[in-house]
């Protein structure tokens, strides 16, 4: 009895140490995340021009619906999201499955090569892609040499192709990164599971959909949500890929690469600053991210 009591007393003291360990982090989060979140919610009910601040209630949010730039930025980002994320995650899953096959050789080399793009800075690789995809640049040369196209594609001067370039660039940069998570997850699945399936006569494709995908569900969910949030926040790539290529002020040809984050930046620091309006845009993005995450949870979680 007294032994038990003693431990419980100690548990109590140890438990207090928990706060000591998380205190620094908590301080940082409160100051640099929680406070800004709360403040920008407050700010989103004002229209601000320099030092002038007028209360507008939901006015900013109503204005957003009619703001063609904002609507365009949403359309751009959702198009990229719907096309790029599934392609990338499927590719990553395939790479991981192949590199988890014990019969494949040179795994280390392939894994390193495929992961390498993930160590570059977003600005740096975007600049590289911008040069490679220029009108008389490398990509057009190669495609014409191989005979796939007859005339150079105006990659960064055409609204459609600019989006394609961005999707190619994003896929190049992030596939290997996601592959690492899948590889890590696959190593937790015992090889015997696959061997048993093999003996039962299940083909590789059946094994992929009946064993790999279901067992990796939590990690697939994790990568889907992080990729979705990452796409909603796109900033570095559109800013550096084709910004100002056509005219000084549009982000990509005809603003085809305008994203909400870039728009927020422009509203804050480029045009006459309206911080209240920028905050309202931010909140709409938060809301969209939350809704999408919720849907993904439902879709992936429910089948369990």
């Amino acid at each position: 009895m007294s032994e038990k009591k003693k431990t419980r007393g100690l548990e109590h003291i140890w438990s207090k140490w928990g706060w000591v360990f998380i205190s620094l982090m908590l301080l940082g989060i409160i100051l640099f995340v929680f406070y800004p979140i709360a403040y920008s919610l407050y700010l989103s009910t004002f229209s601000t021009r320099g030092f002038l601040k007028t209360f507008v209630g939901f006015g900013n949010y109503i204005k957003l619906v009619q703001d063609t730039y904002f609507v365009l930025s949403l359309k751009n980002i959702l198009t990229i999201l719907v096309i790029q994320v599934p392609i990338m995650l499927f590719l990553a899953l395939i790479f991981a499955t192949l590199l988890n096959d014990p019969k494949i050789k040179f795994k280390g080399i392939y894994r390193t090569a495929l992961f390498l793009p993930a160590v570059t800075s977003l600005v740096a690789y975007t600049v590289i892609f911008r040069v490679m995809f220029s009108n008389d640049g490398l990509v057009n040369h190669v495609l014409m040499f191989v005979g796939i196209i007859k005339e150079p594609i105006r990659w960064l001067l055409d609204p459609f192709w600019a989006k394609v370039t961005l999707i190619v660039a994003l896929t190049w940069r992030w596939t290997g990164y996601n592959m690492m998570f899948y590889l890590a997850g696959l190593q937790n699945i015992p090889i015997e599971v696959y061997e048993a399936a093999e003996i039962d006569g299940a083909s590789k494709t059946v094994q992929f959909f009946k064993i790999t995908v279901p067992l990796l569900k939590p990690i697939i969910l994790f990568t889907t949500i992080t990729s979705t949030i990452g796409t909603l926040q796109l900033f570095d790539e559109p800013m550096n890929l084709a910004a100002g290529v056509v005219t000084g002020s549009s982000v990509g040809p005809g603003n085809s690469l305008l994203t909400p984050s870039v728009y927020i930046y422009n509203v804050c620091f480029k045009y006459s600053p309206n911080f209240g309006y920028a905050s309202a845009i931010s909140y709409v993005i938060v809301l969209i991210a939350a809704v999408l995450a919720f849907i993904q949870f439902k879709v992936v979680g429910e089948r369990e």
Binding site: F21, F32, V119, F129
Partner: protein, 270 residues
């Protein structure tokens, strides 16, 4: 399809993919040795402009200063970030309680908030602290990393609790247990976290773009962006800058690769 044929296809697929992944690295290195016109034309062989491009970058764009700025920011972020977030991950895992788990969930949820949403209040905050156009203004908000807290908590899940108990019986206090027993035994996790923190801080763009205003405080990423977005950029110089910016990442990655893979594995295991 025969077994052999299928594996041949797999190898071809993997090799092409690996080639596409690595090619831009080769190309930027080649680019750094060529003239701007040749870079734009997509010349694939090495040129003779290497020294010229480097000199240009060094003299006209103050490369030395810019690199020191980037290094300074990254070192401070890495050191503080992994201490603060590993302590928090440890705190949440080892001293788990109802209240703390709720706090943990609240912190995890903030990963959904786009940085752009925090930008304006953060900018005001930095103005209040008089940190606009200073490196500390860049460093401070980058220290608390929610992802790293999550990462460390996952890694501490596997840590044998008996060792902590034994240390307590021996009379060590909690901070000592963490710093001299637990921390040294988690090398892989720390190495992986250090790579992650280094990558995010060295490569950061939006926040430095907002905070840094003068030429002399610029980071290498800001420099690349501003050279490349000029009206007639010298792409040989741009490629040289990209190579120099990427080099430290590659060195760190290859030096710590083993730990990195182990660290990621640790964070995914349940």
């Amino acid at each position: 399809m025969s077994r052999k044929l299928r594996y041949t296809f797999i190898y071809i697929f993997l090799t092409i993919s690996a080639f596409i992944s690595v090619f831009p690295f080769y190309w930027m290195i080649v680019g750094s040795t060529n003239k701007s016109v040749d870079v734009l034309k997509g010349k694939l062989s090495f040129g003779t402009e290497f020294v010229e491009n480097f000199k240009n970058l060094w003299e006209n764009y103050n490369l030395g200063k810019v690199l020191v700025n980037s290094a300074k920011i990254s070192i401070f972020v890495v050191v503080f970030s992994i201490i603060v977030s590993s302590m928090a991950g440890y705190g949440f895992e080892i001293y788990s309680s109802k209240v703390r788990n709720k706090v943990y969930s609240a912190i995890l949820l903030t990963m959904m908030i786009p940085f752009a949403a925090l930008m304006v209040p953060l900018f005001r905050l930095m103005y209040f602290f008089n940190l606009i156009d200073s490196h500390w203004g860049v460093i401070l908000p980058m220290i608390p990393s929610v992802f790293l807290v999550f990462f460390f908590r996952q890694n501490f899940k596997q840590y044998p609790k008996e060792i902590i108990m034994a240390a307590r019986v021996d009379g060590a206090n909690e901070l000592r247990i963490f710093f001299s027993i637990v921390l040294p035994s988690m090398k892989s996790a720390y190495a992986a976290a250090a790579i992650y923190a280094f990558m995010t801080s060295w490569n950061a763009y939006l926040w430095p773009l907002v905070i840094i205003q003068s030429e002399q405080n610029k980071t290498i990423v800001l420099m690349i962006s501003s050279i490349a977005s000029g009206y007639t950029p010298d792409f040989g110089v741009v490629m040289m800058a990209v190579v120099i910016a990427t080099l430290p990442m590659l060195v760190v990655f290859f030096a710590l690769q083993k730990h990195f893979v182990q660290g990621v594995l640790g964070s995914v295991k349940q």
